[in-house]
Amino acid sequence: MKHLLGVIGQPRAMLEELLQLSDSFAEVNARAIPKVPALRGRTVATLFFEDSTRTRLSFETAAKRLSADTLSFSVSSSSVKKGETLRDTALTLQAMRIDAIVVRHASSGAPWQLARWLDCSVINAGDGWHEHPTQALLDCYTLRRHFGSLDGLRIAIVGDIKHSRVARSDVWAFTALGAEVTLVAPRTLLPPSLEGWPVQVSEDLDRVLGSSDVVYLLRMQRERQHEALVPSLREYTARFGLTRDRAERLADRAVVLHPGPMNRGVEIAPEVADLDRCLVLDQVANGVTVRMAVLYKLLAGSAADPHDAVGDEAWGPIRSGGSDG
């Protein structure tokens, strides 16, 4: 595995391997000194053409905890302002012998294009409305740690599905791991076609609420307001917000997720955001953990996967727990 571009179409085994690998890094993060020398001498560059604080900080923290060096490239203070193309910017970084580029770009597909141009690893940190694979992994990891498994979980994703790369990646990761997903949104905030999406759709949050194990709230993007997709934020809150009243009707074991940043008072009531069942801060912590797993998986070594190693069966009939395979 050289790049992490998307989760759509990825096999369950690949997702599960990354989640399992994350357990080892959760142990590292729980230590007094949360740092291992695993990626010493490797360099990771973050190349963000869109604003982000948590994703960039999360990747940089993950890289530093693996002892990799980090470079941070933000468009506002770079030659992009002078008209440099994406390709030239990326080739410049590569010429500095960067091992991995973490890229966020407003254009869907930009990370795929970079992966074609570059020899180093490319990690998609969000491209347009398309994909945000590490967000999907950290959401899956958070749910796996909380519930043990995603198999059979009923997950409602609520909000602006149409403009959400988080929703696209999450739908595929959640369902690949065995969960059932229901999208809850006004029709104006759904993609024009849901053909091929393994989901159910509802326009009534109150009907879905009581039977959901997970309510995943998307950020209501205020900057979309001028498109007049909803009559007003107040009306959106009234129909699709997780108000205090709705929070009381959640199932006992239900949890609330949100990719951040939260608009308190719009998609989630301020007091609901502070409930124990709201796992937003777990998501942030787990974000560092799964990004460590992704960086390690992409950058540690270059040979084939050790699980391909053969020859165990060539040993004699006695099998021991001492060298368990």
């Binding site: 080892s24 142990e27 070594g301 040979a303 165990d312 040993w315 001492g322």
Partner: protein, 208 residues
């Protein structure tokens, strides 16, 4: 990065050049292993004047069950069994850049190590590189009063100045041989065709 012949710590591979291994020969059976572990348990408690301050830490994967077994033996001769942990040293290996090293289990150190005597337990001591990685890893978990090393088999060919404190069996081997050691016995097999390798030096694999 050039691809190197891959070798998993947990699965002895076919020789990288495509040779084959001979049928394995039995060096110790389960009874021999049991007797060796009993002796090692006595040596551990003798050396440390009891096991009050001792923590057994098995190296993933082969050392984990051996550490548990040693703890069980110590419980028979001491008032209480020492705590048992496990350590996966993947992130500390010196060959991460050469081959893909994936962790096989989550490290679990159940007690504060500072001031304790840590007995590292592994199945086979070979180049010493796993033990070196383990010493680095332990550093990140505290500052033990002392670290000792217990291995079921010492097969020689050290590449670092490391020696074991407690040994089940000294087993002279050549580099072309593989050793597998567990509670059910110890086996040795030899490469019968293919060129002589320096897999120990290249991969730093400790167990084989």
């Amino acid at each position: 990065m050039a691809a190197t012949p891959d070798e998993s710590r947990t699965g002895p591979p076919t020789p990288p050049d495509g040779g084959v291994f001979s049928a394995p020969t039995q060096v110790m059976d389960a009874g021999d292993v049991s007797r060796a572990l009993r002796r090692m348990a006595h040596e551990i408690t003798e050396r440390n004047h009891g096991v009050e301050r001792v923590v057994l830490v098995g190296l993933v994967t082969g050392g984990v069950v051996l550490a548990e077994e040693l703890a069980a033996r110590l419980a028979e001769i001491e008032p209480a069994a020492p705590p048992v942990g496990r350590l996966d040293v993947s992130f500390y290996r010196d060959d991460i850049a050469l081959r893909r090293v994936m962790p096989h289990a989550v490290t679990d150190i159940p007690v504060e190590l500072t001031g304790r005597v840590v007995v590292l337990v592994d199945d086979v001591l070979f180049t010493g590189r796993t033990v070196r990685a383990a010493l680095d890893a332990l550093n990140d978990h505290g500052r033990p009063k002392a670290v000792q090393l217990a291995v079921l088999v010492d097969r020689g060919h050290r590449e670092l100045p490391i020696r074991p404190d407690f040994v089940g069996k000294n087993l002279p081997t050549s580099r072309e041989e593989d050793v597998r050691a567990g509670l059910d016995g110890v086996q040795l097999r030899r490469r019968t065709t293919g060129v002589a390798g320096d897999r120990g030096a290249v991969t730093g694999s400790e167990a084989r």
